[in-house]
């Protein structure tokens, strides 16, 4: 017979305090109020005063509602029945199908021992030339997409999910608009990957505490699959919403804010999630691709700033394109030497020439005279943007490399590209 506690002494924000004994830190509880039941998590113990964050929010909770502790931390079922399912941030089905109760695993598992990680060396092919050629995504990498509201970052995420040849795709939506969620679902359904997809969706209309759990749920499930030798891709959007939820809870808990209201442990909180990306030495891997919207397009804002220090590079998505400058995959060197002998040469040459093209454009815009070389660069720039940079371009890596050679051949003499002679001889398109 489980014990109930009904002496709630404080209700503030999404946090309630109840008088109870024998409660473990981080434990889960159920609160039954007139509005229904909700899960809650212990976030502070002080004598017999137990503070809990209530997943469904505290609206309508009364001082005499009943709290029942479950003697375990937040758990998520782990079975193959998860595939194709959609859940909310408290792990309740969002798709009118059965509640899963089997084989529960705790979220927030311990850290992976660094000596059991291996050096990642498998490329994830996405079909997006700006990623595949210039900043290759590597299995087990953690990489954010820095963007601003209004950019098609969710579309980009969905495309990577569809085209990356991962065994399991897990989508974590935080603060998602309902129609964005539907778009994701449609995209995965049309792409025929729904059968290997699991979604944990918190929409903007849901209680804020549930937002906090979404990454942990995704990563706990992903980790279990990785341990079973699966290659897992976790897509998270939008981590700024997650950080804002953290901010909200920490302010209610009267924590001293450090920077723009965010808690001092923002770095640790984000790192604990991103660092779950792993390539196990002797099991599978988990790759994390996350969207971070930058408030005011400001990369020094605490969320993108802390993220940048944690992740292994970043993609900037601006004006519907992945920016070639600033975007970086720190792990690309591990894979792009082994794809095709001209990969690195094309990667360097195309970006250097595109940088020169931007300079020429500036010169043109300031009214300076254009030399024949400038004209070549301008031509190259517009071709490169149209045929390679556009997000709609969807071709495999080798085809993209060939296309780059064709663009170069259309605009330049071989020597002007700055590519080594041997590579030119092997790959320069024959007329």
């Amino acid at each position: 017979m489980r014990k109930y506690y009904d002496e709630i002494t404080r209700i503030a924000g999404n946090v309630i305090t109840v008088t109870a004994t024998g409660v473990g830190y981080d434990e889960l509880a159920v609160i039954s109020s007139k509005r229904g039941t909700s899960l809650a998590q212990v976030i502070r113990l002080e004598g017999d005063q137990v503070s809990l964050q209530v997943f469904a929010g505290t609206q309508g909770v009364s001082t005499e509602d009943r709290v029942q502790f479950l003697n375990s931390p937040m758990q998520v079922p782990f079975t193959d029945d998860l595939l194709g399912r959609v859940f909310d941030g408290a792990c309740r089905p969002r798709d009118d199908r059965a509640i899963l109760e089997e084989n529960k695993v705790s979220i927030g598992s311990p850290t992976v021992n660094p000596v059991r990680r291996r050096m990642p060396d498998h490329m994830v092919h996405t079909g997006i030339p700006m990623i595949d050629i210039f900043n290759s995504l590597v299995e087990s990498q953690k990489l954010p997409i820095f963007s601003v509201a209004g950019e098609p970052y969710n579309e980009l995420l969905a495309r990577v999910g569809l085209q990356a040849n991962a065994d399991i795709i897990i989508l974590g939506g935080m603060g998602l608009r309902h129609d964005d969620y539907l778009k994701f679902r449609d995209a995965f359904e049309k792409g025929g990957v729904l059968g290997r997809t699991i979604m944990f969706i918190h929409t903007a209309a849901d209680p804020v505490v549930e937002c906090l759990l979404v990454p942990d749920l995704c990563l706990a499930v992903g980790e279990q699959y990785a341990l079973q030798n699966k290659r897992v891709l976790v897509l998270l959007t939008d981590m700024t919403a997650f950080s804002d939820a953290l901010k909200e809870i920490s302010i209610i808990m009267e924590q001293i804010p450090s920077n723009r209201g965010y808690p001092g442990d923002l770095y640790t909180q984000l790192a604990r999630r991103y660092e779950k990306a792993v390539d196990f030495d002797g099991a599978g891997s988990m790759t994390i691709l996350a969207c971070v919207t930058m408030p005011g397009d400001d990369v020094t804002h605490p969320v993108p700033d802390n993220t940048g220090y944690i992740t292994e590079g970043q993609f900037y998505l601006r004006n519907g394109r992945i920016e070639p400058f600033g975007s970086l995959s720190r792990l690309k060197q591990q894979v792009n030497g082994k794809t095709r002998d001209d990969h690195r040469a094309i990667m360097d040459a195309c970006i250097q020439l595109y940088a020169l093209c931007r300079e020429s454009r500036e010169k043109r815009d300031m009214g300076f005279e254009m030399s024949p070389w400038d004209h070549k660069l301008l031509k190259y720039g517009s071709l490169f943007e149209k045929k390679i940079m556009e997000l709609s371009v969807n071709i495999p890596l080798f085809e993209a490399l060939d296309r780059c050679w064709n663009i170069l051949a259309e605009c330049f003499d071989p020597a002007e590209t700055g590519i080594r002679r041997a590579v030119i001889d092997a790959h320069w398109p024959k007329k």
């Binding site: 004994t21 024998g22 409660v23 473990g24 830190y25 981080d26 976030i43 502070r44 113990l45 002080e46 004598g47 017999d48 931390p73 927030g108 598992s109 311990p110 850290t111 992976v112 021992n113 660094p114 000596v115 059991r116 990680r117 291996r118 050096m119 990642p120 087990s140 341990l227 924590q255 001293i256 804010p257 450090s258 920077n259 808690p263 001092g264 442990d265 770095y267 640790t268 790192a271 604990r272 660092e275 779950k276 792993v278 196990f280 099991a283 990369v299 020094t300 804002h301 605490p302 700033d305 802390n306 940048g308 220090y309 944690i310 292994e312 970043q314 400058f325 600033g326 970086l328 792990l331």
Partner: protein
């Protein structure tokens, strides 16, 4: 002595103690499933002791037992530290992996030194001699070093050696000496001893002025912003500017005996790179694997935050221990900002009144105290040893005005500021040659480096002017200065870390090349037109760049040197 938990909040536990509590002593929180979680007393109020727990506090309950100990958080010192990969609390990670598998389980601890390894011990003193703390009792070979076995540093009296072990193979737990103090109390000495991490270990006759250059073989550091043995330096930089790569290169090539890498709150992936690569890399100076002179302290960002705070102290203590043997040690801490953030998190939980950006008010003094653990010492036996500390700083938003960078700049001897603009332009190492500074004297005559720097500065001014008035509005002389500054930057200050020769330039070669570079910088070139100036500088740049890639004293090296000399002799004509 035991206590009871009365509150749990994040990684802080408040316990009611029913006896004597020592500040900074350790305690174990006993979780009801039997796990013992290591923690440290960080505040005492009446009978309440606040402990920071070095593990996740999940599952702890009010009323659970806390075992208080008298000793402070300590590391074990002895032969077998080199080549180890530890977490922030000195648990060997490979052994943990062998025992538990993929994950790090809270409450699992393994002794820092192997109890099985047998070390061939040779005594250094006969029985009957009088010794004090830090005196050498004997030695064992540890890889390429002679590891001295000392009278434990915490023994603060005079002792008579009653018995000392015969030469032979012993484990670290085997007694090797029997000491007796003046009151007749006897002490059994083994090859291992403990030392509290937060207390500096510096038994010496005196502290020396650090002045021996520490050659890192990175030209911009050694020639322009040198570091000395026993000195301190910091590397602040925004993300993606190459802090960690710079630390990795330094750890490979630095001319010191021992390197300690403290990966503090950074990515696990980077540690894995070091873990996998170092055992394969051969140290050219010893012919042995680099791992034999390296200790890795690894507390990545996902590991518990209190252990992160401890990890830099653990690293410093291990460094100080080898310094006591007269060795030169380099401690690279990456990153000290994460360590400062760990302090901020704990301070926030303790509800201390916050300072700037919510960092605790004692941030500056803690940072200062940490860097002060570096230093060159004249040891009690007359030999000298040094500990050099280099810390990276990860300023929020890349802005150096933030508290951690500012507090660090006050106490270090050299500042290697990384610039985003330089790394975006792929100019590596991205140390900003105009903003950085060093108070030390390195391998280059200071007068010469000042002269080179002056040209760099003037070149920068000309470049800025040129953005306004254009190339056509700049005089030929000014234009030439800008080109020379570029030449100095491109051909000397930048270095290709991925080229076998260019990656590391020994001191002698640096001095030789620097003189040539300075001659070119100060060479009165007679040019009438800008295009002519550009062509001349392109030519000489090309020579120097290829010279950098040519191995010392090869035919190629000599050939290019002759071409450079004739360029200089002809003043470019």
């Amino acid at each position: 002595m035991n206590g009871r938990i009365v509150a749990v909040y994040g990684n802080i536990v408040i316990a009611e103690a029913n006896g004597q509590v020592f500040q900074n002593s350790i305690g174990y929180c006993l979780r009801q499933d039997g796990a013992k979680l290591l923690s440290e007393v960080i505040r005492v109020r009446g009978r309440l002791a606040d402990l920071q727990v070095f593990e996740e506090t999940r599952g702890l309950k009010v009323g659970d037992t806390v075992e208080f100990q008298e000793e402070m958080l300590s590391v074990v010192l002895g032969p077998g530290l080199l080549g180890q990969i530890y977490d922030g609390l000195q648990n060997p990670l490979p052994q943990l992996a062998a025992q538990i598998g993929f994950f790090l389980e809270p409450g699992k601890y393994i002794h820092g030194l192997s109890a099985e390894t047998r070390w061939p011990f040779t005594s250094a003193r006969p029985a009957g001699q009088t010794v004090t703390a830090g005196d050498t009792l004997g030695s064992v070979p540890e890889g390429i070093f002679t590891h001295q076995i000392k009278v434990p540093f915490r023994m603060n009296q005079e002792y008579r050696i009653e018995k000392i072990a015969e030469p032979g193979e012993y484990t670290v737990e085997h007694p090797i000496a029997q000491l007796k103090d003046q009151n007749g109390v006897e002490y059994t000495i083994t090859m291992q001893q403990k030392w509290p991490v937060k207390i500096p270990l510096n038994l010496a006759r005196r502290r020396l002025m650090p002045q021996d250059p520490l050659v890192t073989r990175i030209r911009i550091i050694d020639s322009m912003f040198p570091v000395v043995r026993g000195g301190t330096y910091c590397i602040p930089g925004p993300f993606g500017a190459g802090k960690t790569v710079l630390q990795q290169i330094t750890s490979r090539h630095a001319e010191v005996d021992i390197v300690i890498l403290a990966a503090c709150g950074e990515r696990a992936g980077e540690v894995v790179e070091t873990l996998r690569e170092f055992p394969e890399l051969i140290d050219p100076r010893t012919g042995k694997s680099l791992m034999e002179r390296t200790i890795i302290i690894c507390n990545t960002s996902a590991m518990p935050v209190a252990a992160r705070e401890a990890s830099v102290y653990t690293a410093a203590t291990l460094g100080e221990y080898y310094r006591q043997m007269g060795l030169n040690v380099l401690l690279l801490a990456d990153s000290t900002s994460r360590w400062a953030q760990a302090m901020r998190e704990v301070s926030g939980r303790l509800e201390e009144i916050p300072g700037e950006e919510a960092f605790p008010a004692y941030l500056e003094s803690r940072i200062a105290a940490f860097y002060e653990r570096a230093g060159a010492l004249e040891l009690t036996d007359g030999s000298t040893g040094s500990l050099t500390i280099g810390g990276t700083v990860s300023p929020a938003g890349g802005n150096f005005e933030e508290p951690v960078t500012q507090a660090t700049l006050k106490v270090v001897g050299a500042f290697h500021g990384l610039s985003r603009a330089r790394s975006d332009a792929r100019r590596y190492p991205s140390i900003d040659p105009l903003d950085s500074w060093s108070k030390y004297t390195g391998i280059i005559d200071p007068d010469k480096s000042i002269r080179a720097r002056r040209i760099l500065r003037r070149g920068n001014e000309v470049r800025q002017m040129m953005t306004v008035v254009g190339e056509e509005g700049t005089s030929v002389d000014d234009y030439l200065v800008a080109l020379k500054a570029d030449f100095f930057d491109n051909c000397y200050l930048q270095q290709n870390a991925f080229d076998a020769v260019d990656a590391a330039t020994p001191a002698q070669r640096q001095q030789f090349v620097f003189d040539k570079v300075l001659t070119v910088l100060e060479l009165p070139l007679e040019v009438q037109e800008k295009d002519q100036a550009r062509q001349l500088m392109v030519k000489i740049s090309d020579l120097f760049r290829n010279w950098n890639y040519a191995a010392q004293d090869t035919e190629e090296y000599q050939k290019i040197l002759e071409q450079i000399d004739s360029f200089i002799a002809a003043k470019g004509k």
